[in-house]
């Protein structure tokens, strides 16, 4: 298929969709608790999930702080708190109510959790979709563009399952004892990576213990080095368009194009490698020569089982000789020997 033709057709399709959506001319009103693109509310407290409210229902953060000074003290030190100190739009100017919804009913009732329109966390009466919708009011672009329909969204993860909004979370003491993590400004997650992700992906924790691994335990790469947990259009929520593009973003020397190419390498690094860790050398799924034997049964090599005495077996196996197995640009590199 011609890539250009496909690209043109795609652009046309996108343009038609965008034009028909009215989205270009119908931006959401700031501060409105839109139900668009959110799951329908579950049968929860109807009062607490009123989708839109008149401006008169907002009381302002000053009123909230009168009773919730402690929360305010913590919140003001977070990035969100600091942004809202100097709001850029009416939504941010609403402070507490930009996330929790209008507070008049809460104030008039003299407090009480049941009168808070949107509450977050495990004990919230709001559905996950309702909680997330409050976050999406601001966080719907950039890395969150593909949140809708993403694996984490469809498995019912709430933003607050991973993120802590009310206060900055500093590195837990116990994190000193487990894994390191790359430096990050983002202190709004409940735990440092990778611990945060490993809570739900326990097998990855096991794989990271393997002897052959990327510098993951050492805190040089982490889950979000390759994956976007907020959703991506790519397989396995990868940041790049394909597995190979992801791997080659660091291993650029293996990108080519080469004069002599090894087709399974070209298609998918994971044909031979297990990126999350392996007990075989070079993150191989199975050690040499078997990883090569799986596909190669040719007349140029003896095709016996390669007793241990063979140079095809010990040291680096097949790559003792075929060292540029990822592709060669040498005019004599047709067998990846050069």
């Amino acid at each position: 298929m011609s890539a250009i033709v496909t690209l043109r057709a795609s652009l046309t399709f996108v343009a038609v969709c965008l034009a028909s959506s009215g989205g270009w001319t119908r931006p959401a009103k700031a501060g409105q608790q839109s139900q668009e693109a959110t799951k329908p509310p579950a049968s929860q407290n109807a009062k607490a999930t009123t989708p839109s409210s008149a401006d008169g229902d907002y009381v302002g953060s000053e009123i909230c702080v009168a009773c919730h000074e402690d929360q305010q003290r913590r919140f003001k030190n977070t990035i969100m708190g600091k942004i809202m100190e100097h709001p850029r739009n009416p939504l941010e100017a609403r402070g507490c109510e930009s996330c929790h919804g209008p507070g008049r009913a809460h104030v008039e009732a003299g407090g009480g959790k049941d009168t808070i329109p949107i509450r977050f966390g495990k004990d919230s009466p709001n559905s996950v979709a309702e909680q997330n919708a409050a976050c999406e009011e601001c966080h719907s672009r950039g890395t969150h563009l593909f949140w809708k329909g993403s694996p984490h969204e469809s498995r019912g993860l709430a933003c607050v399952d991973c993120h802590q909004v009310k206060q900055e979370v500093h590195e837990a003491l116990s994190a000193d004892a487990r894994y390191s993590a790359p430096l990050t400004e983002n202190k709004g997650v409940k735990k440092s990576q990778p611990e945060l992700c490993l809570q739900c992906h326990p097998m990855r924790r096991a794989q990271l213990q393997r002897s052959s691994h990327m510098p993951y335990r050492e805190g040089k790469v982490t889950c979000t080095s390759c994956h976007n947990p907020h959703g991506s259009p790519n397989p396995s929520q990868l940041i790049q368009s394909s597995i190979n593009e992801n791997c080659l973003s660091c291993h650029t020397e293996r990108r080519g194009p080469f004069l002599w190419e090894h087709p399974p390498v070209l298609e998918n690094c994971a044909n031979c490698h297990e990126p999350h860790g392996s007990n075989n050398p070079q993150l191989l799924k199975v050690r040499m020569p078997r990883v090569c034997d799986s596909c190669h049964d040719s007349s140029r090599h003896p095709t016996q089982a390669q007793p241990l005495s063979s140079i095809k077996n010990f040291n680096r196996g097949c790559t003792n000789c075929h060292s540029y197995i990822h592709g060669s640009n040498h005019p004599s590199g047709n067998a990846f020997l050069r």
Binding site: A3, P40, R73, R141, P233, N280, C295, D297, Q304, G333
Partner: protein, 885 residues
């Protein structure tokens, strides 16, 4: 004062400087103190205490031992002359780290808001300052407005600490071997080479290996990133970044000077070298994104440029100094990875197309280019069969082009519609396409393999593929945190110049998330996939006379095909995949959380369809040694895992945790031992050349058990204690066995899997990693937190592929029960070398690796680096003081 001390002094001075910001924060501190006085019962949040950051500094000491290589212990270095004790600091313990003794700054974190009365902030974070694994992150900006950020990160990577070589790098990428030794080796009688190399027998005390020097192959990545981000409004952002990474060092690479190291008894030289690495990676990213709740759009350009400063590796043939012939080159030359560039445009958007539906799309075309100048075919002046068949292969002029003009275009497209048209139901449809077109010119070359063999003209092959996925799924949210999902995925794969031109995979999947009670979550998912190629035809499974393809089903063609007919490559062939995962989380009380998980992926390639419709087994019925198989290559690829986690809070101050997981990998393949028939023969007239009686099976199995147990404990508000122990215990086995009838010793079906061709098991590999960590932290004052940390790490590693490695060898044989050699010792290593006995009897174990014989089969000449990562145990003590200001 040496450099190290200078660095430490620098860090100390930096800390003094860093402490000065406290003065800036003095007013805040006073305010805080006042608050504490006025509200003594109100617990101060940690975030407030760290409003301006922290510095942790102290001392570190690591001690331990590297073991498992008795041959390399100090004073026991048999045959290597120079006593050597592999050090802990260059062992696997430090593979990606830099654990050294002395002053240590694990981290600092400084943050200033409202700089000089403005709304700007500045933050500086660091980890492991000054050491080779250091990283820094500095940010200046205004929240919600702009940000300028600089990141610097170093990643060391040590490959081995048992490496020795006589090669020295005389200029970048040029490795020389001492001429005197080359002359000596060239003059030696082949039978004397093992003794001459090892310094045994009549050459005691004068072995070549004796002179080898120890090196530590390693690379260091240094990466700096500068990023600028500006928010035009809350909805609109502009961002640009530049990342530049330097990779420098050496890593082991294997090279041969022939088409095979065992091509003949007089040639087939091979050597392992330190490959010179000197790369620069450059990445430019410029983009913008605009988003409202209803629609978002983003566009960016990404450019990635690799610059390799050493484009070739040149080395001496250690076994030859003069008299170059076609099969005995004096030097070799390798083309290292060429400069390349990739440019991508990424456009993505999302919009609500109706009240209940959202459309998301991304389109990313990419252009990959590579046009580095070619090297000549060889450095071997004796070869003159290039170009038109009579031209010198050392000349650039005989190449069909000066460079590749390599060009590949990619196109990634994704379109998704997610809809919530009905209450509690979400529907989703996705179309995804990835296209990779190779637009590189096709040319005919006359390669010289290994600088010593010129098999004839060959044309480069252009591979490409196009993958299309269409997915539709529906999910019903039947209760809070409970849903049922079902869907279908179709994947079409089109390939250029591979065995399968077109295949399709149909997948059905379902998932259930169920929260029957508040504290119980049950998750389960299952996926069934069936991949079928339209036709599977390996282009190398063709009649050598006519070139006509020989299909798997053909039972009449008696030609010996280059590839085994019915060989199937697992990434293209028919496959049935079953995948299931489950997770249960239960928190019966606030104190206890239990979770258990299990999963399996089962790939079955042993099917009919595009394979053979009837079994390929030679022995059938009661005599069958294995179940029916319909292809050669991978038959099964299975993995299983299960485990559990438990967290129990004995009290608000004491938490215990335990984790266990088990994994098992199982891969099974079947292939055939084949040898080309002699001239005028075919597979029916040659004894056992291509007979199913020489089929053999191999199974690779890896069980891994992982245990962790620990506690997090707070004693009052001042003392924190954490301790845990973990063990990751893995084993690896490769079992192999013949499937035919060994009693047939003549004729077409002659059983040949005997002697050095026998299909035998490989020795078990062992991989056990223990870790004990104890952390004790004390809150001395509001600002001072002394901490003591102890780590014990032990890694036991035994791998038949690397543990026996020494600098000169041609074979390895295990001696399962130790000396004397049992009758079932694997044959093939009949001329042991580097033994402590003279003369060298067959089967005497190598001092380098007990129960193994290291030998020279007299047909290969290979100088290795001896790359291994021996076992170690290490104690690390860290005492630090964290100062929060």
């Amino acid at each position: 004062m040496n450099t190290r001390h200078l660095k430490q002094f620098g860090v100390f001075a930096l800390l003094i400087l860093l402490s000065s910001p406290r003065m800036l924060a003095q007013q805040d501190a006073k305010d805080q103190t006042k608050d504490q006085k006025t509200e003594p019962k109100k617990e101060q949040s940690q975030s407030e205490q760290m409003a301006h950051g922290s510095v942790e500094f102290g001392v570190r000491l690591a001690t331990g031992d590297v073991y498992g290589r008795p041959d390399l212990q100090n004073g026991q270095c048999l045959g290597c002359g120079t006593p050597f004790d592999p050090t802990l600091k260059t062992s696997k313990f430090n593979e990606y780290g830099d654990v050294r003794d002395g002053f240590y700054v694990p981290r600092f974190d400084i943050h200033f808001d409202n700089l000089l009365g403005s709304r700007n902030y500045f933050s500086l974070l660091s980890q492991k300052a000054v050491y080779r694994d250091q990283s820094y992150l500095a940010t200046f900006g205004q929240y919600g407005k702009f940000k300028v950020q600089f990141r610097y990160d170093q990643i060391p990577h040590i490959y081995s600490n048992t490496t020795r070589t006589l090669y020295t790098q005389t200029s970048p990428g040029v490795w020389s071997f001492p001429a005197g030794i080359r002359a000596e080796l060239q003059a030696a009688v082949p039978a004397n080479l093992p003794s001459l190399m090892a310094g045994t027998g009549s050459f005691t005390g004068q072995g070549v290996v004796t002179n080898f020097n120890f090196i530590t192959p390693s690379i260091l990545r240094r990466a700096g990133t500068i990023l600028g981000s500006y928010d035009l409004s809350a909805k609109w952002n502009l961002a640009a970044s530049f990342w530049r990474e330097s990779q420098k060092g050496v890593r082991p690479i294997g090279l041969i000077m022939n088409s095979s190291p065992s091509a003949s008894a007089t040639s087939g030289f091979g050597m392992e070298l330190p490959e010179t690495i000197n790369y620069y990676n450059n990445l430019v990213r410029v983009g913008t994104d605009y988003g409202t709740r209803a629609w978002s759009l983003q566009a960016s350009y990404v450019g990635s440029f690799l610059q390799n400063n050493v484009d070739a590796l040149t080395w001496d043939n250690p076994f030859r100094l003069t008299n170059e012939t076609i099969t005995t080159p004096l030097t070799g030359r390798m083309d290292l990875y060429p400069n390349n560039q990739a440019n991508y445009i990424v456009v993505a958007g999302a919009t609500n197309i109706t009240k209940y539906a959202r459309f998301m799309a991304s389109i990313s075309p990419g252009w990959l280019r590579q046009d580095a100048a070619f090297l000549p075919y060889t450095t071997n002046t004796a070869i003159n069969t290039c170009g038109n068949g009579t031209q010198a292969c050392t000349s650039l002029s005989v190449l069909p082009a000066p460079s590749l003009s390599g060009s590949r275009q990619t196109l990634a497209m994704n379109y998704t519609i997610a809809s919530t048209a009905w209450k509690n139901v979400e529907l989703k449809a996705t179309y995804r396409q990835y296209d990779s077109n190779n637009n590189t010119p096709t040319r005919t070359f006359t390669p010289v393999e290994g600088d010593a063999s010129a098999p004839g003209p060959q044309e480069n092959t252009l591979f490409g593929f196009n993958r299309k996925d269409l997915e539709a799924s529906g999910e019903w949210f039947f209760a809070k945190k409970s849903s049922v999902k079902a869907g279908y995925l179709a994947e079409w794969m089109d390939r250029t110049n591979r065995d399968v031109a077109h295949s399709m995979e149909n997948s059905f999947f379902t998932a259930v998330d169920w929260t029957p009670i508040k504290d119980l979550l049950i998750r389960a998912s299952y996926r069934y996939s069936d991949r079928n190629p339209n036709v599977y035809q390996d282009p190398n499974a063709s009649d050598p006379q006519t070139g006509a393809p020989v299909p798997c089903t053909d039972t009449t063609n008696v030609s010996f095909t280059a590839d085994q007919r019915c060989l199937r490559r697992f990434d293209e062939s028919a496959r049935l995949r079953n995948r299931a995962d489950g997770l249960v989380e239960y928190s019966p009380t606030d104190k206890l959380t239990l979770s258990a998980f299990a999963g399996t992926i089962q790939d079955n390639y042993n099917r009919t369809g595009s394979n053979r419709p009837t079994p390929l087994n030679f022995l059938t019925g009661p005599a069958a040694t294995v179940g029916p198989y319909y292809l050669y290559g991978m038959l099964k690829d299975l993995s299983y895992n299960y485990g559990f986690d438990a967290d129990y809070a004995l009290s608000p101050q004491v938490t215990l945790f335990a984790e266990y997981s088990y994994e098992r990998y199982h891969k099974r393949m079947i292939t055939r031992y084949r040898t080309p028939p002699g001239t005028g023969q075919d597979i029916l007239t040659c004894a056992g050349c291509d007979s199913p009686n020489n089929d053999w099976e191999s199974v690779a199995q890896e069980p891994v058990n992982i245990y962790t147990i620990g506690t997090d404990t707070h004693f009052g508000k001042r003392i924190y204690f954490s301790a845990y122990y973990s063990l990751s215990a893995g084993k690896g086995n490769v079992f192999s066995r013949p499937l035919g009838d060994p009693t047939i010793t003549t004729g077409t079906n002659d059983f040949l899997l005997t002697g050095t061709n026998a299909a035998v098991n490989y020795p078990e590999t062992v991989n056990r990693s223990h870790e004990v960590v104890v952390v004790f932290k004390y809150k001395l004052t509001e600002n001072l937190y002394p901490k003591f940390e102890y780590r014990y790490q032990q890694w036991d590693y035994k791998d038949y592929q690397t543990s026996p490695m020494t600098q000169y060898m041609g074979c390895v044989s295990p001696i399962p029960n130790g000396p004397p050699p049992p009758p079932n010792a694997v044959p093939g290593c009949t001329t042991p070398i580097l033994t402590s006995n003279t003369p060298n009897p067959v089967g005497v174990p190598s001092p380098y690796y007990p129960y193994f014989t290291v030998g020279d089969p007299s047909s290969a000449r290979y100088l290795f680096l001896g790359v291994d990562q021996p076992s170690y145990h290490a104690h690390t003590f860290i005492a630090t003081l964290e100062y929060r200001f």
